[in-house]
Amino acid sequence: MTVAAAGETGQRVLTPTTGRVLKRSLFWVGVVAFLAIIVVIVLATAGSQAGGTRLDASNAAPPGTRALAEVLRQQGVTVTETSSLRETEQEIADPSGTTLFLYDPNGYLTAAQLREAVRRASTVVIADAAFDTLQAVAPELALAGYAGGTLDADCGLTPAQKAGKVTSDGNGYRIVDESAAVTGCLGSGDGVYSLVQLERGDSQLVVLGATSALTNEHIVEEGNAALALNLLGAHESLVWYLPSVDDLADSAAPDLGSLTPPWVTPALALLLLAFLAGAIWRARRFGPLVVENLPVTVRASETMLGRARLYQRSSARLRALDALRIGSVRRLASLCGLSRTASVDDVVAAVADVTGDQAAGIRRILIDAVPSSDAQLVVLSDELLELERAVAAAVRP
């Protein structure tokens, strides 16, 4: 028995302490924190430069319309931004003194919601009305595709007349129902207009295709500013309504979230946490593995099996049979008491003597027969075994 003892000094702890782990990972924690700060800065500055929501009254980027909204406010118009129909209805206190600006590029609103919105104010400006919007609120109009360039104000509408010329980069509309009270403006030829006003009793519905005229980028060109200010500043109050996802919830049936009891979500979250804890419980290994070099296990008979498959694949029947015959001849020779050097002819003669069979038949089995198929090979191999058995039985005392 040997006793191996390690003193307190000789004992080496392999697991690093928490402090050392922290110290070691300090560099990478720093790198990740640095990258995170950079990402935050980039995201924060990127928002003010490019993009943003198009035609958003608080967006100072080129596609926004903040400049227009600010000028309107300076002129004493109350500009209110809304993002849902319910909010819009609340904001419109006096329908006759309110202009509603509606821009729904994502098609959040249904036909019913659109009709409801249009009914709310005396002047409604729909920017970039799409096909289904027109179907719902202005069936007199049809979408006529792209209409661009600098357009002349060639109609009786005050905002257009004051503007004179307007640059357009948007949709054009064609009037399909001539009998209705419709005024087309900013025509680009062939009956296509970028500004159409429809009279609906005491209220007006304006469909504006030249929306780029309102944006921060283009509002200073030609008479764009005059068009925008006169169109949207006619009343003392302007509601700038950009429909959002909130409008979907209003229209859809009550979803799963509102039907389930309030404890379901926290309970699910808790069970997920319990699952994570369980994963850590089972996955935490009890110390590192102990390494060991193991030998490769290869059976010695692999080479024999490989040779057998080679014989079989190349149909080397005669070669295979000869191997079997040599083994049989050797065993037969020792059974008949012949020496190891005895020739095959001697063995044939001795076997014929012992069994009393014809030497020719024995010679056919041991030497002459050539197998032409695998079936014959099997038969010949059986005959060899039979012959050995017969000789063994014959020489047994």
Partner: protein, 430 residues
Amino acid sequence: MAVSGWFVALVALGVVPIVLTGQPVVLALWLVLVLVLGIVDLLLAGSPRAVVLSRDLPGRVRLGETVSSSLYVANTGRRRLRGMIRDGWQPSAVAAPDRARIDVPRGERRAVTTTLTPFRRGERRAAHVTIRSFGPLHLLARQASIAMPGAITVLPPFNSRKHLPSRLARLRELDGATSVMVRGQGTEFDSLRDYVRGDDVRSIDWRATARRKDLVVRTWRPERDRRVVIIIDSGRTSAARIDNEPRIDTAFESALLLAALASSAGDRVDLLIFDRRVRARVQGATGAELLSRMVSSMATVDPELIEMDWSSVPGLVRSVTSQHSLIVLATTIDAPGASRGLLSVLPQLTRKHTVVVSSVTDPDVMDAARDRATRDEVYRAAAAERALLDQARVAAAIRQLGAEVVTGAPQDLPPALADRYIALKAAGRL
């Protein structure tokens, strides 16, 4: 740090207050509670680093036997150490139980006993001890691995020792046998005794008969103090597995049986394990020390995947002994090509010594040569016959060069080699 199943259960238990109250805020409260309990538990757990470990190991064990290893854990920390401990042994040492519960009060020492039943020969090592220390609530644990090397030498099993008594009895029959059996060159004169009917009349000592006036015969005994040199091939062919035992292990078994037999017959046994360099050498040991030194030197030898260097074997034998001796070469005779090296040095050895080549035969090949029911089996039988023919050719070539050949299945080879030794001794050829 490690988590217990109780901790997981505690987290999951939070479902009950959440469902009962229906308030989402309960989730946050419950998590804070669990976290506080966990941190308190972790702070109250004993340090798994503040321990002093020591081992009590038996140095050697025979393959297939079981030994127990003790690990002493002394708690030098400020708190009680409660939890689990794992002694990190290599998988083939088969340590049981794999992990054990410990509870060591402050300043005290406890023993953890692990039983080892190794299934591979050689040196089996332990690398480290891992301790997982739980707090009083058994929720969270501190865990640390401490380097604690240990090793145990697993000796060859020497299963063939069951053949030893019968072979020793046959050896004793040789001893003092009359010349009827053993008369021949080299047998030594032992004693004179009265003639009994049936003794060979040629062994009557006429001079003694004249003195005694009674018929007296001479008896002989086998020669003593002959030399036996066992050379085991640890090259690539010895790595092959036959009947789930590498050839080298069979060679070890036969060498051990032969050495036990020869040393009790009064012969000197030397062992060399060789491939391109001497892997182990046992020289000049006698009696019980011989077997002990043989098994220790064999224990750590594994076959190397290199070709055996037969050309340096004659020089190696000369370095061991210059007198006539029995040389046993435990190797493989497989195919004429692979055995060329062996065949080329045999004449140098047989000129001066009696040489026996022992080789393992594969029972699978024997079986395959007999089974011929289907087409696949006939081809397999043909390949097996071919392999047997190759072996027979090599064996014939070895016999022609004046050496003897002993072959057998793994369990038959050791007694077959012992029998050949007894036969050679009886014939006075040592």
